[in-house]
Amino acid sequence: MEYFVQLFLGGLTRGSIYALIALGYTMVYGIVELINFAHGEIYMIGAFTALIIASVLGLYGFSEISIIILASIIAIIYSSAYGYTVEKIAYKPLRHAPRLSPLISAIGMSIFLQNYVLLAQTSDFLPFPSLIPEFEFMNPYSHIFSSAELVIFCTTAVAMTLLTIIIKFTKVGIAMRATAQDRTMAMLSGVNVNKIISTTFVIGSSLAAVGGLLIASHIGQINFYIGFIVGIKAFTAAVLGGIGSIPGAVLGGFILGWTESFATGYISSDYEDVFAFALLVLILIFRPAGIMGKSRVQKV
């Protein structure tokens, strides 16, 4: 039973990270109907930036807490900046192109960014400092739920709440939803659609950065390739919940987290990634609209 609880909580943590990254996919898809293939790389760049900044600050003798805060903030800023730039270069010129074009461009962007980091930094795995302190009050439970897991879970919860508030109640949020539903009408209402799309990329990217920091400090190492696998998994989570749906992405993240956690815990850990991919393939075949997604009627 304890093992079950441990796996359940492990899945929850894992799932919340997937959910954070999945939100970026789902928001972008909702607004421009594009699978932002480079989203995983944005998160990878966030993690690298944090590592670099943290190392530099560490060498200059900054205190631990200030390192955590500064590195996180800078990582989020940089991820957002990359997300913004990627949209401007690889997607914006293709707004009216046939569907395959932006997808190929996105894959190209993803490959480009991976190799950019590979060349400019290293192909080796780098140790990532644990940004999360051990809480004493968690000690009695640490064998089933670590401090790190608690922090991950709470951070995710806060980030999601913030996002929900932005989307639901702010002017920008309403404009984002409106643009997702009918872009031309949003323009006719006086919305600068380009700005809204950029904002979506920026928000999605900063969420990815948060996810990236959490996962990197949890696993303890990073390399240029982490974005690819986690990216696809997060995408799976987004599709699972119903791409375009924000609560769907969260739900999908949890389901995927649990699937992986239980499957590796009870079946085999060799095939961890296979379970995720198999889930992706199955969900797309049997319920492409996802759990909370709506199937759209095609206009003829």
Binding site: L59, T85, M109, L113, L119, I232, V239, L284, I285
Partner: protein, 405 residues
């Protein structure tokens, strides 16, 4: 005369990219020795590079926009040459003769090393042409193409290892197994929309690779399979040098076969159905075309070619492991198709020549090749989605014999 406004814009772009690339390009931390390496020269490169490139970017974007407006197609010189070749059978025949001569003479004039490189190029031409059926003609973005390639390679390697099966038997077996897996995967997924299809095929490709990596009893895991037999001719074994020449000719023949088949299919009833499907799925169905069957045919045929190429790959390298079948391989094949021109046979050939030869001969490029592939995919989509040589539909004349051309 470049306007001040333009310079200001470029300056801004340059500053932005200097900011953007600062931590990754400039700072290099060695966490073990605790040393920070500040690479300020990189900042200068980025700054100057993005300053210049931004002029090109805006120039081409504007040109593209005005091109769209006036709807005057921007025909590249290469397409002009292609058009001339099509219209002048004599010139065309001369060119074919020259190419044939070069192809035959090549292995006898150049070193084994050069022959091996050329064999690789030919292998990718085959793969590219196979994927071209799926992506270029039928418009199905298959990101897991490498899975079928792996199926072919492993079927030869395993059959050879366990039963000592020869290359010549494995070649059709690999093709059939490729087709089989193509249908197996294609059947459930082909109902999906374009971008979902891409992701499912990607997931499928990764599943195959992960299984090969982890199922040690079956595939010998990451250590792979070595000592795979090279092809023989009526039981005659070759020396290393003549063997590579032999393989070179085998693959030349297979590439010719591929070109022959794709060319015939392209302008047949089924080929037109593929293109129609790519152009407009609903109208295509309204013409009485069975969407699923047609897609499946394209998918299976593409997989057949990947299967065959896999067998050849195993025979060529005599050693395979899962590392040869990563997503990057799929991406490389896709870049060949995209760069050359989707749907165009000469385009794919040119694409393979450029993308395989460039990293081989320009050592400077080999480190940057994946970076380059990524950039090519983005830039081609933004500026020239039809590729270097765009696909041109065949023209028909009415005469007593019916079709010509």
């Amino acid at each position: 005369m470049i306007k001040f406004e333009e310079i200001k814009k470029s300056l801004f772009v340059s500053l932005w990219f200097m900011f953007l690339t600062f931590p990754i390009m400039v700072i290099h931390v060695n966490p073990i020795d605790k040393i920070v390496n500040w690479r300020w020269d990189n900042l200068l490169f980025v700054g100057c590079g993005s300053f210049i490139l931004s002029f090109f970017w805006r120039y081409f974007i504007n040109r593209k926009k005005s091109g769209l407006r006036q709807s005057s197609p921007v025909i590249s010189p290469l397409s002009n040459i292609m058009a001339r070749l099509r219209n002048d059978p004599k010139l065309f025949r001369t060119l074919i003769a020259v190419l044939a001569f070069i192809a035959v003479a090549f292995p006898f004039t150049f070193s084994t090393y050069q022959v091996t490189i050329m064999t690789t190029v030919l292998l990718y031409i085959m793969l590219g042409l196979g994927l071209n059926i799926v992506v270029g003609l039928a418009g199905l973005l298959d990101l897991g193409y490498v899975a079928f390639y792996a199926v072919g390679a492993y079927s030869y390697a395993l059959l050879n290892y366990h039963f000592g099966l020869s290359f010549w038997i494995a070649l059709p077996v690999g093709a059939i197994l490729g087709a089989f897996f193509g249908i197996l995967l294609g059947f459930p997924v082909l109902r999906l929309r374009g971008d979902y299809l891409a992701i499912v095929t990607l997931g499928f490709g990764e599943i195959i690779r992960l299984i090969l990596e982890n199922w040690n009893d079956f595939s010998f895991g990451p250590s792979g399979i070595s000592n795979i037999s090279r092809p023989s001719l009526f039981g005659i074994e070759f020396s290393l040098k003549s063997s590579s020449i032999f393989l070179y000719f085998i693959i030349i023949i297979l590439v010719l076969l591929t070109i022959f088949v794709v060319n015939r299919l392209q302008h047949s009833r089924i080929g037109r159905a593929w293109v129609a499907l790519r152009e407009d799925e609903i109208a295509c169905q309204a013409m009485g075309i069975d969407k699923v069957k047609t897609k499946l045919a394209a998918f299976a045929l593409g997989a057949t070619w990947a299967g065959m190429a896999g067998v050849i790959f195993a025979a060529k390298t005599t050693f395979i492991n899962p590392a040869s079948f990563t997503f990057h391989e799929s991406a490389l094949i896709l870049s060949i198709v995209v760069l050359g021109g989707m749907g165009s046979i000469p385009g794919v050939i040119l694409g393979a020549l450029i993308l395989i030869l460039m990293p081989e001969y320009l050592r400077a490029f080999s480190d940057y090749r994946m970076l380059l592939f990524g950039a090519i995919m983005v830039l081609m989509m933004v500026f020239r989605p039809q590729g270097i040589i765009s696909d041109v539909r065949r023209t028909y004349e009415l005469d007593n014999k019916g079709a010509s051309g």
